[in-house]
């Protein structure tokens, strides 16, 4: 998650105070990990320094910073570019789990048990995400679904690998 670009995106809606940006960030994207105030103001300062936003004059009021920030055309261009650019699909060709399985076979250790332990951890996380869906709002549901589908893909790989451990052992020992 790019915090600067996300804040810049929120700023594109309308000029805002740092407090408002933090509140909206936490509501929509924080999901249990609120953005520290220090990071919000440091990020806004950098965006202003780099010409992506303009800080208005300091206002009297509560809190350390009551400046209104406004996005600049360069900032809008950055947001537009970021939104349009696809996220690189990660091939996951060398996962830690794959390395562990191959190494376990090389060392004559019980790869099937390691896979089962991983399966249990994955299923436990899937239960938590399912619980989140059951008790959360639509935002929670969509985020949890994203996690669930990835975990499900991992589990399918675990099943597939568990079924091919003998063949893998032969390949590794060649």
């Amino acid at each position: 998650m790019s915090v600067p670009l996300t804040l810049l995106g929120l700023l594109e809606r309308e000029p805002s105070h740092g407090y408002d940006l933090k509140r909206d960030y936490d509501t929509y994207f924080g999901r249990g990990k609120p953005l520290p105030y220090g990071q919000v103001y440091a990020t806004l300062s950098r965006l202003a320094r780099d010409g992506k936003a303009i800080a208005g004059p300091a206002e009297h009021g509560e809190g350390p910073d009551r400046k209104t920030y406004t996005i600049t055309p360069a900032g809008i261009e950055d947001v537009q570019h970021w939104l349009a650019e696809p996220i690189p699909p990660e091939p996951h060709l060398q996962t830690v789990l794959f390395t562990k399985v191959v190494l376990a076979i090389m060392l004559g250790r019980p790869a099937d048990q390691y896979l089962d332990a991983q399966r249990a951890a994955h299923l436990q996380r899937m239960r938590e995400l399912t619980d989140l869906k059951e008790h959360g709002d639509l935002m929670d549901t969509l985020l949890a679904d994203h996690g669930l589908y990835h975990l499900e893909a991992d589990l399918r790989w675990i099943d597939h690998t568990a079924a091919r451990l003998d063949a893998l052992a032969k390949a590794v020992q060649q």
């Binding site: 951890a121 989140l132 985020l143």
Partner: protein, 234 residues
């Protein structure tokens, strides 16, 4: 805690083909247990042995302190009708009956008169989002609706155990999630124990715990790492 239902070293073969080779599993009262495993691993056979539909060749099945596998067919049949509920992959509704009559069926078979049986069936339509479909026949229901009717039928008599064999297997993912959400909520509300056979990890995630059947034996998964706190989906 004493298990509500338990299989002890159960062996079951079909002809020369072994399906269970010493399967052992215990399910606590109120627990929702997912039984997972590859196709042909024996998970449905285990479910059928636990439910008294099949009798093991060897081993024991216990339910509520009572030996189930040595009971005669009639008492086992009574048990299945009065204390167990069932949901299968495709609802298996009786096509000649209305949805409401299908839900009331276990009550009617237990000797409840028609009027009170239908009255007891009716609230389930509201509860499972089926309001207005009471008079439809199974051919007039979507797959998801039919499966929710089947779920209501499985729960209407307030069974102690609900046996569910791939209850979302014929549904799309959204309908399947609705059925699982309703199933688990209703089971928790009534304290119903659920034994859920599924090959789908997303379905199993609705359960409290899961076991895996491999080559006719039950593996209980252990060694899960401590999971992150709830509410931190990223």
């Amino acid at each position: 805690m004493t298990a509500l239902i338990e299989a002890r070293d159960v062996v079951k073969s079909f002809g020369q083909t072994p399906a269970l080779r010493g399967a052992t599993v215990a399910v606590q009262p109120g627990e929702i247990l997912a039984v997972m495993g590859p196709s042909g691993s024996g998970k449905s056979t285990l479910l059928h042995c636990l439910a008294g539909i099949l009798t093991p060749d060897h081993g024991e099945v216990w339910f509520a302190g009572q030996r189930l596998d040595t009971l005669g067919e009639n008492p086992r049949s009574d048990l299945r009708r009065d204390r167990f509920g069932f949901v299968f992959q495709s609802g298996q509704l009786v096509p000649e009956l209305t949805a409401e009559e299908n839900v009331a069926l276990p009550l009617l078979l237990s000797g409840t008169r028609r009027k009170p049986a239908l009255a007891q069936a009716r609230p389930w339509f509201e509860r499972l989002g089926l309001h207005g479909l009471e008079d439809r026949r199974s051919g007039e229901l979507s797959g998801g609706q039919a499966q929710r009717v089947a779920l209501a039928r499985g729960l209407v008599a307030q069974p102690e155990i609900l046996f569910a064999d791939e209850p979302t297997g014929s549904l799309d993912s959204v309908s399947g999630e609705q059925v699982m959400s309703l199933l688990t909520r209703a089971a928790h509300d009534h304290g119903t124990t659920v034994i859920l056979v599924t090959h789908d990890a997303r379905v199993a995630a609705y359960a409290d715990r899961e076991v895996i059947v491999r080559d006719g034996q039950v593996t209980t998964l252990t060694g899960a790492s401590p999971a992150p706190a709830r509410g931190t989906a990223q």
